[in-house]
Structure formats: structure tokens, C-alpha cells
Symmetry: C2
């Protein structure tokens, strides 16, 4: 989670919403790190999770990330939860819950849907206070 | 929808699930066309809709596709529905329903969720038989 938080801080420094994500393989080695880049890339899909999944899949030469863990500083949205299912990620760890945009424990609760084709193990609350504070500071400074 | 169906046929010809998508601006001009490329690109996020949204946003130099229509041959999944909301697409037109993976009229029904931050106008059933036949033929040949 330390690497994901560092990526989130890098996002804030360039004016992007501070969310960072890391993908590790089954040995715990980091294979991809990313942060939000929607503004700078002109890409509405450029959430940290999507960019990390794309980078990890490219690095491994496969469209399945079985055995890998996605660690992200904020509860993923519906788009990212869907991508996690498509990528067959084995584990999802996230820090802060997101009552407005989250889709794991809020909103559509993607992994509780009967039609979802893959459910990762889910671990929540790791470094929650630090990740939430990053987001609060970012939005407070911009209001 | 003719251009989306042509893209879907191109996907099938290269062994990708035959789903095609087109984004048009408010004048009806095509600004992006794409089809599934998950296998060839080693990218689990490379659904037709995601690729079309990314290409259109890049072409327009913005992460918002307000005024644009996404036309796709199959009901979008949760990932793609989320991306449609993030991109602020004004209209979504799709051909065949997808009871297994769809997230518009099936599963999480993303645009009926109270927390969804954008709802496009939705038009369904255009060229439904032709789009569904493409998918049936593709999967029958591979079983």
C-alpha cells in the first residue's frame, strides 16, 4: 500500500485526483504502478486501476492476471470493478471506502451480483486514514 | 450501427469476440470506431466500447464526450457502462441484449443505481438479430 500511496501523492502533485494503484504477482513483486491520469491523458478511462491492469497485462503478455493482487488507495468504481473481474485478479486490497463512487461495498456492489463471472478475495481498510486524508486535502485545496 | 457491425465482423475475422462500437458527434459524424482486442492486445480492458471512448476522447482532446453517441453491437458490461458514465456520453445505442454479461438491463443495471453520476439516453434493439447472430456464429464455431 506504501507504493500505491506514493503514486496517489504523485497524482495530486500534477493536479489529478490522488488515487494510486499497484499490482503485485503471487511472490509480492510489484509488476505495475499507476495513478489517475484522466485529465492529462484526455482519457476518461484512465483511473489508476485501469492503467495498472493494462500495464501488468502487457508486462506479463496475457489478458489474465490470475494470482496477482491489485492494491489501490480508494474503493474501485463500477468501471474498475468490472475490469478487475475481466482481469481475473485473485485479490483486491483497498484503503478508503467511497460512498459516492465506489462499487464494491457501495452502489452496484459488483462482486455481489449473481452475474459477475469472477470474484476476487477482498481486503479493506488498509491505510484508510492516510488515503482518505490525501483525497480530502486535494479537494479542499480546489474548492 | 452498420459501422459497428462491420467492426464486429472484423473482430471475428481475427479471432476476437465480435463486438464493435462507434462514437459519433452531435452532427452524426463518426469520430471513433473499435472492436474487441483483449486477446491480441493482451489487455483485459480492451472491449470495443473502452477503445472507442479512449480514441474519441483523444481525437477531441478532452476527457468528456458530452453530445456524443456510443453505438455498440452488444449490451455493455459493468466496466464499459462505468466508462460511459465517466465519459459523459449523451446517448447509448446497443443492438443485442446480454443476459450473462450485460450491465444495462441485466446484472448491476448501472444506470439505475442511485449513485451513478451520469445517465445517457438509452436506445436498444437496433439490428439486434444481426448482432446476436454474429456472436452465435462465432461461439458455435469455437465449441
Amino acid at each position: 500500500m506504501a507504493a500505491a500511496l506514493a503514486a496517489a501523492r504523485a497524482a495530486a502533485a500534477m493536479g489529478e485526483v490522488p488515487v494510486g494503484a499497484v499490482i503485485t504477482d503471487s511472490a509480492g513483486t510489484i509488476i505495475a504502478t499507476a495513478h489517475n491520469r484522466t485529465r492529462v491523458d484526455h482519457d476518461p478511462t484512465a483511473h489508476a486501476e485501469i492503467l495498472a491492469i493494462r500495464a501488468a497485462a502487457k508486462a506479463l503478455g496475457t489478458d489474465r492476471l490470475t494470482g496477482c493482487t491489485l492494491t489501490v488507495t480508494l474503493e474501485p468504481c463500477a468501471m474498475c470493478a468490472g475490469a478487475i473481474a475481466h482481469a481475473r485478479l485473485t485479490r483486491l486490497t483497498y484503503a478508503a471506502p467511497d460512498p459516492k463512487g465506489g462499487a464494491i461495498e457501495h452502489g452496484p456492489r459488483i462482486f455481489t451480483q449473481p452475474t459477475v463471472h469472477h470474484r476476487p478475495e477482498i481486503i479493506t481498510g488498509v491505510a484508510e486514514a492516510e488515503a482518505a486524508q490525501l483525497l480530502r486535502t486535494f479537494f479542499t485545496e480546489r474548492r
